[in-house]
Symmetry: C2
Subunit: 162 residues, 2 copies
């Protein structure tokens, strides 16, 4: 979300998938690992930076969900809702990394509390926007180690929304 000269406060990377699985909870002594899974659709990795506020979310969500990124069976470019496809949202703090020598630094990332709140609001907005389109929305758990598995990716379309 930035214009020339503006500060970047969120970054997303989108990938189209035929199937995507995300481990949302690792296995523990007395419980098995938990997963969420979608079939054909789109994965959104998202990271908020310092300065991000709730008022950026509606435009961001609307823009992401209505972008014509997906190729329909007839070859027409459509949105994930029009596909119709499912949506998997993955919190990805490493999108905020900057190289410092050989190490990565994340000083520009939002605080964990604010990030958790914005992430929750982002997921809710996506769910609300996509209810009418009967699109399934699944999401990862903020702060947990994510273990995604992409059984097959069709025409990966990564891009950066800065």
């Amino acid at each position: 979300m930035s214009e020339k000269g503006a500060v970047t406060v969120a970054r997303t990377v989108l990938q189209q998938c035929l199937r995507a699985t995300l481990q949302v909870r690792p296995a523990e002594e007395d419980s098995e690992a938990q997963f969420v899974q979608i079939e054909r659709g789109m994965v959104i990795y998202i990271c908020f930076f310092k300065g991000a506020t709730d008022d950026i979310l509606p435009k961001m969500v609307s823009s992401l969900l209505n972008l014509r990124l997906c190729e329909s069976d007839s070859g027409k470019m459509v949105s994930v809702a029009e596909l119709p496809g499912s949506l998997l949202i993955v919190p990805q703090a490493t999108l905020g990394g900057k190289c410092k020598g050989r190490a990565m630094q994340y000083h520009n990332n939002i605080s964990k509390e604010d990030g958790l709140r914005l992430y929750g609001a982002f997921v809710s907005l996506c769910e609300r926007e996509l209810t009418a389109a009967a699109v399934t929305v699944k999401h990862g758990t903020y702060g947990n180690r994510q273990m995604p598995s992409f059984d097959f990716m069709d025409k990966v379309e990564l891009f950066v929304r800065a």
Copy 2:
């Protein structure tokens, strides 16, 4: 590859993987689809923009390959060469996309000819840099439709090098 105020001429997204497969040639009437595959290591998606030249490559390759992004078995952060892991390079023109209404535009992407040349040079430099470390380098075919399959991703670390 940008400083404040400088023009971005290349963008990469990195993902760590336990295994990654890329279809480099689709099936045709008289031939089966062709794939390249790596086991544990790193996937680099790369896109060059207008203004990118060969002289950005050495620093870019050195920086990408020496970043401590990978978690070793002992939990220490190491580079892909130190892991030791393999490398899969994927040309990804969609990294240069910008939203224009609901559509994506790629006006800032480098010409196909220059992109092909830079991509080849980038792959060669990676191979040269990693020969000593006995790291396997596989790569996608520039301009072809890529069909990656990630059997399992361990701690996806996406980030943007702009």
